[in-house]
Symmetry: C2
Subunit: 138 residues, 2 copies
DNA sequence: ACAATAAATGCACTTCCATTGCATTGGTTA
DNA sequence: TAACCAATGCAATGGAAGTGCATTTATTGT
């Protein structure tokens, strides 16, 4: 079991106090978060630092960005099977219309989508909207 | 063959000069447009009017909104088979990474997506990105 | 240990798009 | 014609993303 420090270093991410905190914050969250969510969790920190930290995580491919259609970019830690570095083979995302939370369905792969002749598919964004398990009352 | 005026009235949209112009603009476009696109096409008109016109068209369900992941909302006229009033049965959209245009693939229905137990799927946003037929050089 | 260097952070500012309040215009109806 | 309501125009706001630059902090070489 690697420590978080070792993990970050293995991804060529310099370890700082702020980065550790943000990583832990993301790790204990079960849902995708916005920059504002992180901002609210760390009121003392500057927004730019949080922004650049998440961008660093994204570049180093330990976080992926999610466009769930709300207009606000969300982020989540990449998990085993996430494969976000590969443009194909992305998992799908679920956005709850009730609680407004967005979660990765890592194990749910996006089916092969047929496109008309002449079109070349490079990657796919698939967001299912509806009611999540917590909100569906069961 | 209904006139545009008759069509708008049948949808409970009051006919104005501006609305006719915008409707025709959308109708002759083969791709989804942004508010800025409309703005550039009608420099004399105020941005707010264009904005509210497109929102009216959306409410009255003759236009649907497209989130193609560029961060800028796009709009396109609903066509036969569009069914955008019904939350299910949406068609897919294609965004070209080369020319940056987004088009409706109205005839391409979104396959049924399985979600885990407890989750209820209400609708789906599916955007395929890649190279369009014009840009793929054929 | 110290100086030189590079990276991370903080602050201010900007840009872009979406959206709203309110005054004005214009068209419809009694 | 007067009254009314919808459409339009102008101005301002707000939210989110992104950037320039100064400062602090960490790393490296001597
Ligand atoms: Mn995900
Ligand atoms: Mn469409
Ligand atoms: Zn929910
Ligand atoms: Zn193209």
């Amino acid at each position: 079991m690697k420590t978080i420090e070792e993990f970050l270093e293995s991804k060529n991410i310099r370890v700082t106090a702020m980065r550790l905190l943000i990583y832990k914050f993301l790790a204990e969250k079960l849902v995708a978060v916005t920059l504002s969510d992180i901002e609210n969790a760390f009121e003392k920190a500057d927004r730019t630092t949080l922004y650049r930290t998440i961008k660093t995580f994204e570049e180093k491919e330990i976080v992926h960005q999610i466009d769930d259609g709300t207009g606000i970019t969300k982020y989540a830690l990449c998990e085993k099977g996430c494969n976000c570095e590969i443009e194909t083979d992305l998992h799908l995302h679920f956005h709850c219309n009730n609680c407004n939370e967005t979660i990765c369905l890592t194990e749910h792969k996006i089916p092969q989508i047929k496109v008309p002749d002449g079109f070349v598919s490079e990657n796919v964004n698939l967001v299912v909207k509806g009611i999540c398990d917590k909100c569906s009352g069961q």
